[in-house]
Amino acid sequence: METVTLQDYKTSEKSWWCPGCGDFGVLAALQKTLVKLGIPPHRVAIVAGIGCSGKMGNYINSYNIHVVHGRTLPSALGVKLANRDLLVIAAGGDGDGFAIGMNHFVHAVRRNIGVKYIVMDNHIYGLTKGQNSPTSDHGQKVKAAPFGNVESPVRPLSLALTAGATYVAQGFSSNQAQLARLIEGAIAHPGFAFVNVLSPCVTYNKINTYDFYKQMLHDLDEDPEYEPDSRGRAIAAVLEREELVTGLIYHDPGSVAYEDALPGFAEEPLAGRDIALEEADFLELLASYR
């Protein structure tokens, strides 16, 4: 294992996040986990979306690509296919992942791509200053819905489970130890690993606060009755508690990553390969057009 320190993962950039933002906790847990695992920064690619959470890449000294709103997961798949030796982490918010990027979320799940997806879910649009997000509670009043949110929230955990996710976990940004453990499990998982993090917005969300979560969350990791080995029981458990749970919710040990399932796909990174086509191969292909 190479010696990797926390300093290796820090950048000179000053944070643009509000003081007290839940995203600080997510960044810290991620950095600590990468250091603990001894993964050098150049072996990590973080693909971030648009929104407060999308600024993640500004503060972590890995390879970073900050893409267009909602497209973190297809971009992350591109990075992974180009260089499968990289640890590819997609990071975004609830708007990026469950509104504009919802389509890609479901498809990334069912493809089981070898990408670790960390969502900083604050149930609100922060950077555009306080509109409802797809995970906002029914009835929540904000400037863009002054009479209350008439929509029902997306339930990311049960959605992922029904779409066929092979690793589903939920953390809380102020429970660092658990969150780091869940991220570590995600990194070890072959295939798509989804870690939803309840990450409070201290400026615009006065409902889903740190205190709210401290009172409401049920820790499945500490629940002696719960085992994360059944998709059906996992769905029941999260729905029963309106997704106010933390811990490893489901894990499929038989998961096969998309890149491993692709027929003939190179086992070594495409990025470093000699890409020239042999003349004999070319002529053979051409002959099929006679």
Partner: protein
């Protein structure tokens, strides 16, 4: 003797019309003829009229022929719609089962042939079209053995019985026409046999991309681009690559950007509606200076338009689409050979200039079969552009400056996985380190850097291709697949004593203004021919200062293929009205 002869088969969609046209064209190609095979079809799976025309010539032809010599009709609708294309006395082979009727006034010779009945006698109704092929071979006096050999080869994997049924169908059709005394009714010119391939622009473009080292292709199915995805899906597993059929074009383009960022060569292919969806992603590639190859096989727009008809109306969207001012390179092949070359070179340009490269194809180029004599892989070498050396990164004391301001605007990139090369690639305006910056001076410096890197392309060799321009009194300027019709028009005009020439613009952005101006300098008149309604290329030429009182437009936008005759007529009109 005419320059070419044409054979058409028509019927309902889903009746194997394409496959039959393919067989007829391929055998003629093997016999040494140059082929251009084109279809009329609609956006449905079964039912509705479709036809396939095989134009046959001794030398290369890349445009439709005005009339046809032989029409094979599997439906009465085929006769009603197409009989007028036959000259008086020309044979119309119709299945007797139809009880076919010629339209009023039609002077073609109706030849009833019991296609369905013969097929049943042979033992398989599906070989009906092969009976027609055998009959057609007889009309053109072609050796049956070549057709038989092809049928054996093609149907071998379906078993001995199937192959024999097809051969028998060919023989019976041939014998039927022979008995009628119509053998060799149309003599073809002597062929000039050489090694030839019959392929579409989609086929050759996919091969070009593979030869260039593209190993990742992400796309969403759309006519007329889908063959590129399908071809590569068959080829990539053998070479370690992958085709990803994505949930939409937003995903396709951003996957391609992610893969190129991480050092692979990746592409997508789409048509108008998908291209519109990709515009935001293309902007990201411009801003973050990430190579990306996007093929737009144009069809009639806007919106769903006419999805199975030809048009060249995405040009301005290719150059200026999307918000903000992003840098793109737009190249346009017109032939299958050029589609191979551009499918290859697009990756070199993208890596060298670190920006999106749009290959503007069109439906006719993408889908119609044409003879190709040689695809020259040896003329192309892979150039990955500026990638920082690991030793240089090892020597760094500070952070890697991915977007360093350089004289030519090109900054070497690091690829993920290279130690000490970490940087942030972002669609947000950034400083030379990659870090977000909103400083006015930085904004100007980075915008100018991204713009100036494309300047040398204005004089890129091969950005235009000229023919007969030296002494031309009228020069026709075009891009894309219509170059075939324009070249044929130039030939016809010259036979008529009009000194016409042609310029094909192969790189549409940056506009090669200097070589274009030079090529057009001596022309009395400049006719800009385009398959769109608003003269998009002429608008780009005007921006580049290429416009004066010699310029005129030929705009063809009814969805049909531009014919050489239409181009000739436009030039003649110039002569009559304006005395060229």
């Amino acid at each position: 003797m005419p320059k070419s002869l044409a054979w058409m088969i028509g019927g309902d969609q889903g009746e194997g019309i394409d496959a039959t046209g393919d067989v007829f064209g391929r055998v003629l190609s093997r016999l040494g003829y140059c082929i251009y095979g084109y279809r009329h079809f609609s956006s449905r799976i079964k039912g509705g009229h479709t036809n396939f025309t095989v134009r046959i010539a001794a030398d290369r032809v890349l445009a439709p022929q005005a009339n046809v010599e032989v029409l094979v009709a599997l439906t009465q609708e085929t006769i009603d719609r197409n009989a007028h294309l036959l000259l008086p006395g020309a044979p119309l082979l119709a299945d007797s089962q139809l009880k076919p009727v010629l339209p009023d006034g039609c002077e073609a010779r109706l030849v009833e042939i019991p296609l369905t009945q013969i097929a049943r006698e042979v033992g398989a109704a599906v070989v009906r079209n092969m009976v027609a092929v055998g009959g057609s071979a007889a009309l053109f006096g072609l050796p049956l053995e070549a057709f038989e050999a092809y049928a054996r080869e093609k149907f071998e994997r379906k078993g001995e019985t199937v192959a024999l049924q097809n051969v028998e169908a060919l023989r019976r059709g041939h014998a039927f026409i022979e008995e009628l005394g119509l053998m060799g009714r149309f003599a073809l010119p002597a062929p000039r046999p050489r090694e030839r391939y019959l392929m579409t622009g989609n086929d050759s473009l996919a091969l070009g991309a593979l030869a260039a080292g593209c190993r990742i292709m992400a796309a969403y199915p759309i006519t007329p681009a889908t063959d590129i995805m399908e071809n590569l899906a068959g080829l990539f597993p053998r070479f370690g690559g992958a085709v990803c059929q994505m949930e939409d074009e937003l995903a396709a383009i951003t996957l391609v950007i992610g893969a190129n960022y991480a050092g692979a060569r990746a592409m997508t292919a789409t048509s108008g509606p998908g291209f519109s969806l990709m515009q935001e992603g293309i902007g990201l590639a411009s801003m973050a200076e990430i190579p990306a190859v996007v093929v737009d096989t144009q069809r009639v727009g806007p919106s769903t338009g006419m999805p199975t008809k030809n048009e060249q109306s995405d040009l301005l969207a290719a150059v200026f689409g999307g918000h903000g001012e992003g840098q793109r390179i737009v190249i346009a092949p017109g032939t299958a050979v050029q589609a191979f070359a551009d499918g290859f070179e697009a990756f070199n340009l993208a890596d060298r200039y670190q920006c999106p490269v749009i290959v503007l194809s069109d439906l006719a180029l993408a889908q119609w079969l044409q003879s190709v004599e040689a695809l020259p892989p040896e003329g192309h070498a892979i150039d990955r552009g500026a990638i920082v050396a690991q030793e240089e990164l090892d020597r760094l004391t500070g952070e890697f400056e991915r977007y360093r301001l350089t004289e030519d605007g090109i900054s070497p990139r690091a690829l993920p996985g290279m130690p000490k090369g970490q940087f942030l690639a972002t669609g947000v305006e950034h400083a030379s380190s990659g870090k977000v910056s909103e400083a006015p001076q930085n904004r100007i410096a980075q915008m100018e850097k991204r713009s100036r890197k494309l300047d040398p392309l204005r004089a890129r060799p091969g950005a235009i291709e000229t023919s007969h321009t030296d002494d031309a009194e009228v020069v026709i300027v075009c891009f894309g697949s219509i170059v075939g019709a324009v070249d044929e028009a130039v030939e016809l005009l010259r036979q008529d004593g009009v000194r016409a020439g042609r310029v094909q613009v192969r790189q549409l952005w940056p506009m090669p203004d200097v070589p274009l101006a030079a090529a057009l300098r001596g022309a009395g008149k400049v006719l800009v021919a385009e398959q769109n309604a608003t003269g998009e290329m002429r608008q780009l030429m005007r921006i580049a200062g290429l416009e004066d009182d010699r310029y005129r437009s030929l705009l063809h936008f009814d969805g049909t293929l531009l014919s050489p005759q239409r181009v000739v007529a436009a030039v003649q009109e110039l002569s009559v009205k304006e005395g060229v």
